[in-house]
Amino acid sequence: MLKGKGIPIFITFLTGMIMIISFFIPHKPFGDIEKISLTWYSIIAGFTMLLGVDSLIGMHFRKLKRKDENWFFSLVLIIGFTATVVVGIIETVRFGTAFDERSYFTYIYNYFIVPLQSTMFSLLAFFIASAAYRAFRARNFDATLLLITAIIVMLGRVPLGEQISPYLPKFTEWIMQVPQMAAKRGIGLGISLGALGVSIRIILGIERSYLS
């Protein structure tokens, strides 16, 4: 019985319906059930992250074992991962929590993760600019519009824009608040209608691809 898809589909239906009902009836017992379900959800969802980590670390271990190309960098990844977890455990023992300001775990965040992540994202400024040069050449009306809007928004957000014209920052604000907002809202409405449709299909068991 457990091997079939019947029980998982029923569980999906039941949890989905509880969540929907408890939104409209936030009183006992639905309110409590929703709270418990959300806690359970966060606990179980974390295990999916562990599966992902297992898959990634496993892949790099295999690369290391086979001495594949770039195996040294796989070793760097594994050492980075292991060191962070070990430091986290040691600092938890030392300070009661790894997130204490004095702990080396916080140092790892401040001096490894923050600079690496922000530098990685800032690197994109160069590549977005070069990709834009290739993609946005004013070939037709729509591409020209996109290009002009991007330039106005970029100039309107720096002091140079105000030097060119005091109206430029105001015009940028207007673009963000009116035409940009209108299209964003239209796209958002489309996305939420799509999400609604897919969610109802999953809850009713019409969409089952997540079980395959």
Binding site: P8, F105, S199
Partner: protein
């Protein structure tokens, strides 16, 4: 000018330079920093999950409040690992079904809420040109993404207006993203010149 003597600042500065070396071409220093970032980030993610979920939502309620109900999601979570054993791998569908059910159940009311809020915000409270443009923009954008009708005649014209709005939105989003990245770049250069090399204050 006083170069930093702080070991941690040096680490951050050298890693920053290792990432920027990619601007010349792909090289071992960049790869080192890239793989290190992935390794440390997942280690940090695991630690956050351990602290915020396992300790706060499982260990503490179980040990201090004697709430044995939390054992159920723990067992369901462990069932995920049944994927590694072929003869019982079907058991992993149970926690997946719960996560998918809860996720979709949560998204139904929140999607409705979003829909109503956005429609309400689109309704013009006062008659001005801005409100009118928003109404036209929202409707024409929706028409552009409505593929059940062929984009010909009136519908075609409205969808053309829609694509104009979409292009303005994409241009604005693009400009905004570039500025955000440039601001990060300025932050990194400031760090290198100020915190590390001490050239600027």
């Amino acid at each position: 000018m006083a170069i930093s003597t702080n070991f941690w600042i040096w680490i951050a500065a050298l890693l920053t330079l290792a990432i920027y070396s990619f601007l010349y071409k792909d090289n071992p220093f960049y790869k080192f920093a890239e793989y290190l970032l992935v390794g440390i980030s997942i280690g940090y993610g695991i630690s956050i999950y351990w602290h915020n979920t396992i300790i706060t939502k499982v260990y503490n309620p179980l040990v201090y409040d004697k709430n044995f109900l939390v054992l159920i999601p723990l067992l369901l979570g462990l069932l995920m690992f049944s994927r590694f054993f072929k003869n019982v791998s079907y058991l992993s569908r149970i926690p997946i079904a719960f996560v998918v059910g809860a996720g979709t159940g949560l998204s139904v009311p929140s999607s409705f809420e979003f829909l109503f809020k956005q429609i309400y915000a689109t309704m013009p409270l006062k008659l001005d040109i801005g409100s009118l443009i928003i109404v036209v923009g929202v409707i024409s954008t929706l028409v552009y993404f409505f593929f059940s009708l062929e984009h010909k005649g009136f519908v075609g014209k409205v969808s053309k207006v829609g694509i104009t709005f979409i292009m303005v939105a994409f241009g604005a989003a693009f400009g905004y993203t570039i500025m955000a990245r440039v601001s990060l770049f300025i932050g990194r250069i400031q760090f290198l010149l100020s915190d590390w090399l001490g050239i600027i204050k």
